[in-house]
Each structure stands twice: as C-alpha cells, then as structure tokens.
C-alpha cells in the first residue's frame, strides 16, 4: 500500500497506529503530532456540517450533534472538494442513527436544510417578466397544454412531520411550544433574488409543483393536484410563484 493510503487510513480510523515513517526532531511520539491532522480533518468536517445544518444542531444540542456528525464523517468522508456539497448523505445517515430515533422528524429537517443550501447556490436564471407572463396567460385555450419551467432553486419536500413549523420556530418566527412535530407538512424552498425562502404549502400545491418539475403540462398537473386536494388554490400558488420569480420559462404544446 502507498504512503498516502496508510496516512489516510490512519486519519480516518482512530484505532489505527499512525503511519510508521513519521518522525519528530525531539523524539516525541509522532502519534502525538499526527493527532493534529486527525483532529483537523474530523473537526473541520464536523464544523462544516454544523454550519450547514444549524436547525438540526439546535434540535439536538451541540454535544449530541458533534458526536453524531463525527460518526457520519468517519463513515462517509467527503467525495467532493466543494464543501457546500458535503452533507447530502447526512439526512439518510440521521435516519438510520439509532441514538436519534426519539426525534423521528430530525432527518426531514436535515433534508430541508440541505435543500436550502442547494437553493442558495443554485444557478441564476432570470424570471419571466410581466410581458411574458401576460402572453402566457392570455391564451386560456392553450393553457392546459403549456409546460412551465421553474427556477433551479425551487424544490418541494413533503414530510410526515411539521418540518416547516420546526424550521420557522428556530428562526424565531413562531414559538416552538406551538409546534406539533407529528403533523404532516409540505415545504416549498425557493431562492427569491438573494434570499432562500421556506414556505409551507398544501399537499395539492406540492403535487402540482412536482408534476411541473417532471415536465407534465399545466392541465395535467392541476388536475392531479385537485383530485388529491380539492381545496388546493391554484391561482394563489401561481401568484406566489410569479411574485417570487420562480417561473423562468414556458412552452405551449406544439
């Protein structure tokens, strides 16, 4: 095995001896110095996760979070050199982490936080302007067959838990005591200019947006959403998507 292979194996496994060929000028045990690298690698990645998942951290406390994140870093070290991308596997890890099982909503809160990061760094795409929107909506007979493009940041997360309320409570937007975590909620994540917004939406709205995302046409998407959720207010959702710059393109059926 190569030198760097041994070095990495020892970095990631605290039980392993430090690489044999390290030395120190004063005869100090090289492992006492190698420990600096071990600590740098693990603590910098734990810190990166703490920065990316602040609500998860608040929900479990600093000590628990760091212990959990450390297990994750050892099990799933980054396979990307871009730290904004690290953490994608963290929600699934949390889901399977037995000590966190008393907080069944934790993994979905983590999913919501990672969607926020992705939205924050997603591509800049210009929204439809007023003229384009007027053109698109002024032909009602062609509306049903129209497909809509959404801003790259737009994402929906449907959860069996109150992820939007839990998230809002940790932004100081509502009291945590008011939150029933076991109530299902649907989140719309969207970057509006420079700010990422998280909004609770109805089940029908979530279905509608997901249908648009998969390229279904407007009529089909609306029909499916209304079949499941008859109270879904399509015009209200469209107004919101327009005002937040989430509609970036449209195409009429040929």
């Amino acid at each position: 095995m190569s030198d760097q292979h041994d070095f990495v194996a020892a970095l990631l496994d605290p039980e392993r001896d430090c690489p044999a060929e390290l030395s120190s000028w004063n005869g100090a045990d090289p492992s006492s110095r190698f420990a600096v690298y071990r600590n740098n690698v693990i603590s910098s990645l734990v810190n990166a996760l703490a920065d990316s998942f602040p609500v998860v951290l608040q929900l479990v406390g600093d000590e628990f979070f760091r212990a959990m994140a450390q297990v994750h870093v050892h099990a799933n070290p980054p396979r990307t050199r871009i730290l904004a991308e690290y953490g994608e596997a963290f929600p699934a890890f949390i889901e399977g982490f037995p000590p966190a099982s008393s907080l069944p909503y934790l993994a979905d809160v983590a999913r919501l936080e990672f969607l926020r990061i992705q939205a924050y760094h997603s591509a800049d795409t210009a929204p439809l302007n007023a003229e384009q929107i007027t053109t698109a909506l002024s032909q009602p007979d062609r509306l049903d067959g129209m497909t809509l493009e959404l801003h790259p940041s737009a994402a929906v997360l449907s959860s069996n838990f109150a992820i939007v309320s839990l998230w809002a409570a940790h932004q100081g937007e509502m009291a945590i005591a008011q939150v029933d975590p076991l109530r299902a909620e649907h989140a719309l994540v969207l970057r509006n200019r420079l700010d990422v917004e998280v909004m609770g939406i109805r089940h029908g709205a979530a279905l509608f947006i997901q249908a648009l995302r998969t390229g279904q046409c407007f009529g089909e998407a609306a029909e499916q959403a209304l079949a499941i959720d008859p109270e879904f207010d399509l015009s209200h959702l469209l107004a919101h998507l327009i005002s937040t710059g989430a509609l970036t393109g449209y195409r009429f059926a040929p």
């Binding site: 760097q4 100090a28 740098n40 050199r81 997603s122 800049d124």
Partner: protein, 301 residues
C-alpha cells in the same frame, strides 16, 4: 515575474494591473459582503478560497462580482491536492479554469500539500515527504496546472506537524528546486514558516534565506493555536482563528527587509471577527509596508 515591475502599488483599479498591488489585503468572508460594498474599506485586495465559489450561482457570485469591480482579487485554492500521489482531478482543474476566466484574478495560488486520496477529500493540508520521487510528481502537477490555466501559479509553503523519515532534503531546498524546475512563484506564508520552524526546531531566517526570494509574489500572515507534543515541546497549529502573533509580525518585518514591499494577506478562516478588526490588522501590515516603500522609492529616484 517581471510583470510586477509594471504594477502601480497604489492602484485600486483591478483592470489596469496584472499583479496584486504592493499592499495588504484580507480574506473575503460572506458575512462581510454587504458591508464591504457599502463602506469600501481601504484594503489593497481581497482573497477568496476557490472552492467556495465553485457553485452555480446565488449570493456568493453576486457579491464577488460586485466586489471584484472595486478591488484586485487573489484566488487561493485549497482543494487541488498538488502533493497527492494520484493524478490531478481534471474536473477540478476545469472548474478552476472557469473561475479564473470569470473573475480574472491578479493571482492564483495553491499549496504544497495534498488533501485528497482517490475520491476522498480530507479538507486538510497534509504533508509530503521531501525526496526525488515527490519532487518529480509535484513538478508534474504544477506543470499541468500552469499549462491548463495558461498562467503561472504561486505555491504556498506549508505548516507541518510531522516530518517523514523518507525525506532526503530540507523543505526550503525542496521548494527551491520545485520553483526552479516549474517556474511557479512562491506564496511565502510567514506564519507557516514560524509554525513549522517551532514545530521542527528549524531556524526561521535560515529557512527564509534558503528560498528563492525573487519568486515571492505574495505573503500570508495569520494566527496560530498552541499545543504541546508528547515530549512537552511547543506544537503550533496553523488554525487561522486568531490575530497575527507578535513573533510573526517580527518575522514579517525581517522578511520585508529582504524583499521590500510585497502584497500581504491577513488570513482568518475561523472565529471570523468584524470587518473592522480585519481591516485594522491589514492597516498594521500596511504601516510595515510603508516603512519599506519610501526608502526604496528614494533609492530609485
């Protein structure tokens, strides 16, 4: 590095200069974006970590683009892993080339270190052994970078905590030979010199004097953390979480005696203080730079 003769040391206009100004700059942190645009602080340049801007869009690019309109820029990579046994990651190099094309920085620098192994990224700057094998490999990697980017890069001397029994040359000789063979420049991190010299009982001025100082394109200053090894000796850690230590300021003054005014970055990546604190530290460096600027100008006159 003859282009540096053309640089106007007082110019803040990025488009006019192809090298960093002979001034002090600071690391650009997202928490300071708005304040920088509003207050336009008196710093010579900003430096960013390349990997933080390898994202598709959003606020990071929004603000960097605007700040770049007002200040010279240094792009400093932390993920290229030039010291790795494996070949360079060509995709990463492509991303770097795109970033450099987009922002036209006055300087691009990376580290004499490795941070990846195969697919794994370790997010730390790990040490290389100093011998003929690693020298050849690192040279090949630097050649590849400079060919791909079509520009010379600066290579930063590392801070290290261990030495390799398989090293056959000292660090300064290794760096000198790298620079001679590859034609890259040197980013002399004065804090790293101090940290490594304490950690390995080297003589700091001897180390600096053994380097090809003509190739220095930028200096780094930062704070360290302090620990002890198992023998009870000082073990300094390049933590970037504290102000520049007095001992490093003294070494910086000695470096400026040797080099004359040189672009200098105040690095702070952890426990980020207010913008004012970083600007004040940059001004402290600027006062040192000014001491070395005037006599040289008179000598040239």
């Amino acid at each position: 590095m003859t282009l540096s003769l053309l640089a106007d040391e007082n110019s803040g206009a990025p488009a006019l200069s192809s090298t960093l100004p002979l001034r002090a700059g600071i690391g650009l942190k997202s928490q300071h974006y708005r304040q920088i645009l509003e207050s336009q602080p008196q710093v010579g340049f900003f430096e960013v970590h390349a990997e933080n801007y390898m994202v598709a869009g959003g606020p990071f690019h929004h603000y960097l683009q605007r700040i770049r309109e007002h200040y010279p820029l240094s792009i400093h990579g932390v993920g290229l892993s030039i010291g790795a046994e494996h070949p360079l990651d060509e995709q990463h190099l492509d991303r770097l080339a795109a970033l450099i094309e987009r922002y036209q920085p006055q300087s691009f620098s990376e580290h004499l270190a490795w941070s990846s192994h195969g697919e794994l990224f370790l997010n730390d700057l790990l040490p290389v052994a100093y011998n003929a094998t690693t020298l050849t490999r690192v040279c090949e990697h630097i050649d590849r970078v400079q060919n791909r980017l079509q520009r010379p890069m600066l290579l930063e001397n590392p801070s290290t905590y261990v030495e390799y029994a398989s090293s056959t040359m000292d660090e300064a000789s290794f760096i000198s030979e790298l620079i001679r063979r590859s034609g890259c420049g040197l980013l002399l991190d004065v804090n790293n010199v101090y940290v490594s010299c304490i950690n390995h009982n080297w003589d700091a001025l001897g180390y600096i004097n053994a380097l090809p100082l003509h190739a220095v394109g930028e200096l780094h200053l930062a704070g360290f953390a302090e620990d002890r090894d198992s023998a009870g000796d000082r073990l300094l850690i390049d933590a970037h979480g504290a102000p520049v230590d007095d001992a490093v300021w003294r070494l910086y003054a000695q470096v400026l005696q040797l080099l004359g005014p040189t672009p200098t970055l105040i690095e702070r990546d952890n426990d980020i203080p207010s913008l004012e604190v970083l600007v004040a530290e940059a001004q402290q460096a600027e006062r040192q730079l000014a001491l070395h600027r005037t006599p040289q100008r008179q000598a040239l006159a």
